[in-house]
C-alpha cells in the first residue's frame, strides 16, 4: 500500500467512462502524472464531472481539498482551474482540470474574462477559493454568490498572478548590472 496510486490508471479510465456516459464529450483526456490521477475536462462539463464524482455511490469524492487556477501563457488553452477532490472513506484523491480559453485571444477584446460555472452549490468551501482565483487570474465563476476580490485591495486594477502581468518593484543597481546604467553615480 502506501505509495500505491489510487485510483490507478484503469480505475481512472473507468471513472472517465462513467462521466462520459452521463454526458458525451466531457472528458478530453486522462493523465497520471506526479502521482496525481487527473481528469482533463471541457469547461462546460466541470459541474457535471464534479457532481458525478460527488454523488455516484461508489465514488464518494465528497471533499474539495483545493481549488486553484493556473496560467500556462504560451500554451492554448491558456488558463486552467484545478479541483482536487478527496474521498475520505478510502483516502483517494482525484484531480479535475478544466481548460479555459482566453477570450482575449479569440475575439481580441482584452477586457473580456474567461468564464466558468461556479461549484459553490456543490462544495460551499469553494466560495473563498473561487474568489481567490478571480482575484489573481481574473477567472469569472458564473453563479458565485459574492464574486469580488479577496486578497488584493478592492480598487486594484489588473490580475496580478497572470504571467503577462508585470512583476512590479523597482530596478535595483547591483554590481552585476551597473554596466547597464553607465555613470550612475553622477
Amino acid at each position: 500500500m502506501g505509495n500505491q496510486l489510487m485510483p490507478d490508471a484503469p480505475g481512472l479510465e473507468l471513472i472517465a467512462q462513467g462521466i462520459e456516459e452521463g454526458r458525451e464529450g466531457t472528458v478530453i483526456e486522462t493523465s497520471v502524472e506526479h502521482g496525481k490521477a487527473t481528469l482533463i475536462v471541457r469547461p462546460d462539463g466541470v459541474l457535471h464531472t464534479l457532481s458525478w464524482l460527488r454523488d455516484t455511490p461508489d465514488q464518494g469524492y465528497r471533499f474539495l481539498s483545493s481549488l486553484h487556477a493556473a496560467d500556462y501563457l504560451p500554451a492554448t488553452p491558456r488558463f486552467a482551474v484545478h479541483y482536487e477532490l478527496l474521498c475520505r472513506e478510502r483516502v483517494e484523491r482525484i484531480n479535475v482540470k478544466a481548460l479555459l480559453e482566453d477570450p482575449a485571444d479569440t475575439n481580441g477584446d482584452a477586457e473580456k474574462l474567461p468564464e466558468l460555472g461556479s461549484c459553490v452549490d456543490l462544495f460551499p468551501t469553494a466560495e473563498f477559493q473561487e474568489r481567490e482565483a478571480y482575484d489573481f487570474f481574473g477567472i469569472v465563476f458564473r453563479g458565485h454568490p459574492d464574486l469580488r476580490r479577496i486578497a488584493m485591495p478592492e480598487d486594484y486594477v489588473g490580475w496580478p498572478q497572470r504571467r503577462d502581468f508585470p512583476i512590479g518593484g523597482e530596478p535595483v543597481l547591483y554590481t552585476h548590472n551597473e554596466i547597464e546604467a553607465p555613470r550612475w553615480f553622477e
Binding site: P153, G158, E170
Partner: protein, 239 residues
C-alpha cells in the same frame, strides 16, 4: 568621583554656614557655581525626550520577532529608556516599521502614524520597509518612505537587535542634538508641526487658523493644487 575626607568635611561646614545664612558675597557665589549646571530649556527638553521614548507595539512581519527581543533581558532596550511599548498610537512616540509593508497595509500604517502625537519618529527596520527588500513585486510598497516620513533606516534582513539598538541610539542623538535634521528638513516641512509653536503665549484657535492659512498659501504658491485650498490642510503641507 572620589571625595577626600578633608574636602567632604569642608563642604559640609560650608553647607551648614549657607543654611544658617552666614555665607555671603564671594563665598556664596562660589558655592552656587559649584553646584549648578547651565543649559538651555530646549536642550534639557530634548534630552528628556531622547531618553524616554515610548515605541509603538506594532509588528509587521518577521522583523517583529527581533523587535520583540529588544525588550528581553539580553538586549534590554530599557537601558536607553524605551522599554515601555505602548499599545495605542496616542501614547507612542516612535513607530518601528518591522517588516514589509504591503499595499493593503500601507493605509493602516499611515493611519497609525497620523494618530500619533507630535513629536514622533519613525524607524524603518530592515530591508523591506526601507526599500521593499526581496519583495520586488506588485503587492509590497517599495520602501515605507513612499507614503510617510521616515527618520532612520536600519539595514539588515532582519537586523539583529544590536543593530536596532544602534539605530535607536542614532535616533536618540538626532533627537538630543539636532532635532531639525530629521525628515522635516528633508521633506521641506519645517513649520508644519501639529502642535502650535508660536512667538508669544499659548496657542489659540486664531493662531492655529493663521498657521493653517500659511500652509495653504505656501502650497498654493508652490503650485499644482490650487483647487484644494478649501480643504483642511494636511499635516505635512507637502502634497
Amino acid at each position: 568621583m572620589e571625595v577626600e575626607r578633608e574636602t567632604l568635611r569642608g563642604r559640609q561646614l560650608r553647607a551648614r554656614d549657607l543654611l544658617r545664612g552666614d555665607l555671603e558675597g564671594k563665598d556664596l557665589e562660589e558655592y552656587v557655581e559649584e553646584r549648578l549646571l547651565t543649559t538651555t530649556l530646549e536642550k534639557a527638553l530634548n534630552w528628556g525626550r531622547a531618553n524616554a521614548v515610548f515605541p509603538m507595539t506594532f509588528g509587521l512581519a518577521c522583523c517583529a520577532i527581533e523587535q520583540i527581543s529588544l525588550v528581553t533581558s539580553r538586549y534590554d532596550i530599557a537601558r536607553f529608556g524605551a522599554e515601555a511599548f505602548r499599545a495605542t498610537p496616542r501614547q507612542a512616540d516612535l513607530l518601528i516599521l518591522s517588516g514589509r509593508v504591503s499595499i493593503k497595509m500601507a493605509p493602516v500604517v499611515r493611519r497609525v502614524y497620523d494618530q500619533m502625537l507630535e513629536p514622533k519618529w519613525v524607524m524603518a527596520m530592515g530591508a523591506c520597509s526601507s526599500s521593499g527588500g526581496m519583495f520586488a513585486n506588485y503587492a509590497v510598497v517599495q520602501g515605507a518612505d513612499k507614503f510617510m516620513p521616515v527618520d532612520i533606516h536600519v539595514p539588515g534582513c532582519p537586523p539583529r537587535p544590536e543593530a536596532v539598538l544602534h539605530g535607536f541610539n542614532k535616533l536618540q542623538r538626532l533627537v538630543r542634538g539636532k532635532p531639525d535634521l530629521g525628515w522635516r528638513q528633508r521633506y521641506n516641512a519645517i513649520g508644519t508641526e501639529e502642535w502650535a509653536r508660536f512667538e508669544s503665549g499659548e496657542p489659540t484657535t486664531e493662531a492655529i487658523e493663521r498657521a493653517a492659512q500659511a500652509v495653504r498659501e505656501q502650497r498654493d504658491t508652490r503650485g499644482g493644487s490650487a483647487g484644494v485650498a478649501e480643504e483642511p490642510p494636511d499635516s505635512w503641507g507637502t502634497s
